[in-house]
């Protein structure tokens, strides 16, 4: 019975959830990417890979639940438009609330990361 449950948990993790570190910052990255210009899901996932130099160990699919969440929270909105290839695609754009959220989150991230860097720079005595 134990092995069964563990096996189950194993498949769930492998499915499409990003690692813990990314989980917290994925929202921020997505907001930032969308802030530059309205994009559809595939472009967003490509952009995510590019800007992070493939360092994010997440599957392409993981952006979709995250986008759904951001939209429900009111930070982005979506619209079906014709894409560059002539096929209809769902484009995401930032809302004013999303823009404020982005500013706020970025500042918080800056503060946190500089604090972490400072700690890591301490030389061992």
């Amino acid at each position: 019975m134990v092995s069964v449950t563990e096996g189950m948990r194993g498949t769930e993790t492998a499915m499409s959830k990003p690692t813990d570190l990314v989980q917290g910052t994925l929202d921020l990255l997505l907001l930032k990417i969308i802030a530059l210009e309205p994009l559809h899901g595939w472009a967003i996932s490509q952009r995510l890979k590019q800007v992070s130099n493939d360092q994010l160990q997440a599957s392409d699919g993981s952006v979709y639940p995250a986008l759904q969440k951001l939209e429900l929270a009111g930070w982005i909105r979506s619209e079906w438009k014709t894409s560059e290839l002539g096929r209809r695609a769902k484009f995401y754009a930032l809302t004013p609330a999303g823009r404020r959220r982005l500013t706020q989150e970025s500042e918080e991230w800056q503060r946190l990361s500089s604090a972490v860097s400072r700690v890591l720079r301490i030389k061992e005595a």
């Binding site: 069964v4 189950m8 498949t11 392409d60 993981s62 979709y64 759904q68 209809r88 769902k90």
Partner: protein, 882 residues
């Protein structure tokens, strides 16, 4: 800030709620667009089309998985999934009606039994008493180690003193219940009257329904005020609101009614009809108001913040203080006990009821094992369907959820049916319990009971659903590779379930056996009188239009009736007593005897059960006169009252002395002297040791209700008509309350034991059947699965006996394991039955041998049936069917 987010999210949320189909479609389109784009990108990098599409799906992390994860974000998605699963479950239920009906009925029976028992437990044990903060209400008992008394009462001065000295207890009050006769309201009737010391109603924390409660002022000024029960108000005064201020005559004394208590106030007795202050009683009507006259049941409240332990410690030291201050009157009275009122009311049945609740809980577990086994067997045949769905991309969590929804649908269906069944079961139980449980009048199916049933149904569904569901889940690696209709490893799980349910059944059968032995033992106890060929006739004297001295009238009536009955042909002897032996609460008001030999007022107060009888009673009951004279019918005025003592009383009061001729002072009268010693009678019940009894002539305190015992030469029931006629001959309007044989009275006295034994026997039998069905089911299934193997064996020349033996051995191995485990566990847990058993050990060897034996026999039958089927396997057919 937050609300704006919310406003922006509204559109998406509305879409999620209103247009779920569209939202789903959106996600589908979006994902397929993604895959198309990625495929193109991959092709651009030089992959061929098939590889490009495959790689696109891989980097996405699975198409269905991504869709599912995206849908999960939506707030109502869970509900929709559940609704969809539920629809699917209902379809499945309808597709296999036979399977579903058995499942639902099993659940319904389990839930019905559990809910019915719970409705009783809820009313008797769980629902709070109708007093303010009932958990803080306690009874206080004085204890005398030397006399082995742990439930001593309080005297009037003691109630006042303890009120003054207690810190951990507040609002100390006392009450005693006495039968009195109401006159001046048409026909005189007998009622329980509570004599109150202190502020009883403040202690209880109850308010009058109309008017007011008694207060300390009534006591201090000795006002002849009384509060009556709602029952008396209804039956005798037609709920007349003008009752307040009216005067009624109770026990030949006038009282002014100042209030009516609500119907649920039942203290000190459940039948109490009137409360009045003690201070208004004439001096010495209850005996002198001295410290040693301990007749009042003390009631108090835990002070705010005080715990039961603090109160217990305090009463012990208070008792010790008094014992040293009044060394003369407090010999041995140096301890006390504090007991929550609730325990004093339900104390006799709380363990019993909890054990019964546990027993039906175990039945539910056994039923769960059967249900799980049925699901496991079906899971095997559904393995292919599930594997296909996994292969098509359904998440394992998703499938698990759907399987659990299916068992939930079955469970809830059974639960609702079970709750409906439980109302019927509850009524049956109440009829069977024959008024042997306290607070039984409060039993009903209320919201708590329904909630219990539903929660139990849900918990049960998850319990019997989870194992088979987990077991049915194919791993993605296995997928479709596994063949159709086979499943590995579930055989061992099914075996374990059988062992578990057999073990549980053994425990219940052993418990039922112990209860049965106990009942047999009780029935063989000698009551101290001869119950054969004897009738008990209960009469409430008709006093309509009676005037003058009621006591004198009652004595006359009794003598007339006894003479008429004794003169009937076929009657050997007749006598009367106020309360029949063995009847619940038959102990008459306890009285005090001063055993100093001089009849003076000082000296030790002793208690005994006081039976008021006609002299013929002892002969009619065939209670042996051990020594001395029978009770005389009359005695000279001014001489001490003659009375009889039981052997237990003689030993207790005059150890090493001759009781005959001893002079004592009786509580209700003056001096009294022992004229004879009679055999012991189990007056308070067969399960209780014979108490110390004193027998006084009924003339000393006539009562309206009396019991006439009639010993007959032949079948006693043949005489009932002539007895009725004889009574009518004296007064055509004289009703007879009941006529029954003493055998019936004896049998009635163990009704509670019989009730619980019946419950145990019933549940033991159910457990036995369920376990047998479980063994049968698993074995039958296994035979079906192994038909091919058995066919091969038969084809190779195996004999009928070999096959039979093989199958039976497989089943009995599980059964024996279960029986052994169950018997060992039973050794540990039957201790819980301790308070229910009287003369039987909780490890009675005979029961521990016979009960498992019965189970083995039944299980052998359950194994034999599938085994016989196995011997009929046609080798060729079995081989062909694969």
């Amino acid at each position: 800030m937050e609300w704006r987010h919310w406003v922006y999210g509204i559109r998406a949320r509305l879409r999620a709620i209103l247009g779920t189909k569209r939202a789903d479609q959106d996600i589908d389109d979006e994902i397929s667009f993604h895959v198309a784009m990625q495929t193109r990108e991959n092709q651009r990098r030089g992959m061929d089309e098939v590889d490009a599409r495959r790689s696109a799906r891989l980097t996405l992390g699975g198409i269905e998985q991504t869709k599912e994860a995206s849908r999960d974000v939506h707030p109502l998605h869970g509900v929709q999934t559940f609704a969809r699963d539920l629809r699917y479950a209902v379809r499945l239920i309808r597709r296999s009606p036979g399977f579903s009906v058995v499942m639902v009925l099993t659940v319904a029976l389990g839930i019905g039994a559990n809910t019915a028992i719970f409705s009783i437990v809820n009313a008797v044990l769980l629902r709070p008493l109708p007093y303010a903060e009932p958990a803080r209400l306690v009874r206080v008992y004085l204890a005398n180690r030397a006399q082995d008394i742990t439930d001593g009462r309080f005297s009037v001065p003691e109630v006042d003193d303890w009120q003054a000295r207690s810190r951990a207890l507040t609002s100390f009050s006392g009450a005693i219940s006495i039968p009195m006769i109401l006159t001046g309201q048409g026909e005189p009737t007998e009622h329980q009257v509570a004599i109150v010391v202190g502020d009883l109603f403040a202690t209880l924390g109850v308010r009058a329904r109309i008017g007011r409660a008694l207060t300390l002022e009534d006591e201090r000024q000795a006002l002849r005020n009384a509060v009556i029960s709602e029952r008396l108000w209804t039956t005798r005064f037609a709920r007349d609101p003008a009752i307040l201020g009216r005067t009624i005559v109770m026990g030949a004394m006038p009282y002014t009614i100042v209030g009516v208590m609500p119907a649920d106030v039942r203290y000190p007795e459940s039948a109490t009809d009137l409360w009045s202050p003690e201070s208004i009683l004439p001096d010495e009507s209850l005996g002198p108001r001295v410290r040693s006259q301990r007749q009042f049941e003390a009631l108090a409240r835990l002070a705010p913040g005080a715990t039961l332990e603090q109160a217990q410690n305090e009463v012990n030291s208070t008792a010790a203080q008094f014992a040293s201050e009044f060394a003369g009157t407090y010999k041995g009275w140096s301890a006390a006990r504090v007991i929550p009122v609730r325990d004093t009311i339900v104390g006799g049945v709380d363990t019993a009821l909890m054990v019964v609740l546990a027993v039906v809980g175990v039945i539910m577990l056994i039923a769960c094992a059967n249900l799980a086994n049925m699901l496991l067997a079906r899971g095997t045949s559904r393995a292919h369907e599930l594997a296909t769905r996994v292969a098509l991309g359904a998440g394992r969590a998703r499938i698990l959820r759907q399987l659990l929804t299916e068992s939930l649908a079955l469970g809830l269906l059974g639960g609702v049916l079970g709750i409906a069944l439980s109302t019927w079961g509850m009524r049956t139980l109440l009829a069977l319990s024959a008024d042997t449980l306290p607070r039984i009048e409060e039993v009903r199916v209320d919201r708590a009971v329904i909630a219990f049933g539903l929660l139990l149904a849900i918990a049960t569904s998850l319990l019997f659903g989870i194992l088979p569901a987990l077991r049915s889940l194919p791993t993605p690696q296995e997928g479709l590779r596994r063949g159709r209709g086979t499943i590995g490893g579930s055989g061992r799980l099914r075996g374990a379930l059988v062992v578990a349910q057999v073990a549980l059944a053994v425990i219940l059968v052993i418990a039922a056996g112990l209860m049965g032995r106990n009942l047999l033992q009780l029935r063989s106890v000698q009551p101290g009188f001869d119950p054969e060929r004897t009738l008990a006739v209960t009469i409430q004297y008709n006093l309509a239009g009676a005037t003058g001295d009621i006591g004198q009238l009652l004595v006359q009536r009794r003598e007339q009736i006894l003479q008429r009955i004794a003169a009937l042909p076929g009657v050997v002897a007749a006598g009367s007593i106020t309360r029949l032996p063995l009847e619940s609460a038959c102990s008459d008001t306890l009285i005090f005897l001063r055993a100093d030999g001089t009849g003076s007022r000082d000296g030790t107060a002793l208690r005994a059960v006081n039976c008021l009888i006609s002299p013929g009673y002892i002969t009619a009951m065939r209670i042996p006169l051990v020594r001395g004279e029978p009770l005389p019918e009359r005695w000279p005025d001014g001489a001490p009252y003659p009375f009889l003592v039981s052997e237990a009383a003689a030993r207790r009061f005059w150890p090493g002395q001759d009781p005959i001729g001893q002079i004592v002072r009786a509580n209700y009268g003056g001096r009294a002297t022992v004229v004879g010693i009679v055999g012991d009678v189990r007056q308070n019940g067969l399960a209780k040791e014979a108490p110390a009894i004193v027998y006084f002539n009924q003339r000393t305190a006539p009562r309206i209700v009396t019991n006439i015992v009639v010993r007959t030469a032949g079948d006693p029931m043949l005489l009932t008509e002539s007895i009725r006629a004889a009574v009518r001959g004296i007064d055509p309007d004289q009703p007879i309350r009941s006529i029954s044989t003493l055998r019936d009275v004896l049998s009635e006295s163990i009704a509670r034991d019989r009730f619980f034994t019946l419950l145990f026997a019933l549940f033991g039998a159910v457990a036995l059947v369920l376990a047998a069905v479980g063994v049968y089911g698993v074995l039958a299934y296994s035979v079906g699965q192994r038909a091919r193997e058995i066919g091969v064996r038969i084809a190779l020349g195996a004999q009928v006996g070999d096959v039979l033996q093989m199958v039976v051995r497989e089943g009995m191995a599980l059964v024996v394991a279960g029986v052994v485990v169950g018997a060992i566990v039973a050794l540990a847990v039957t201790r819980a039955l301790g308070t229910l058993l009287h003369d039987v050990s909780t490890r009675d060897p005979l029961t521990f041998l016979v009960a498992p034996g019965v189970l083995l026999m039944v299980a052998l039958l359950a194994c034999y049936l599938p085994a016989r089927r196995a011997t009929r396997v046609e080798a060729v057919t079995a081989l062909r069917s694969e």
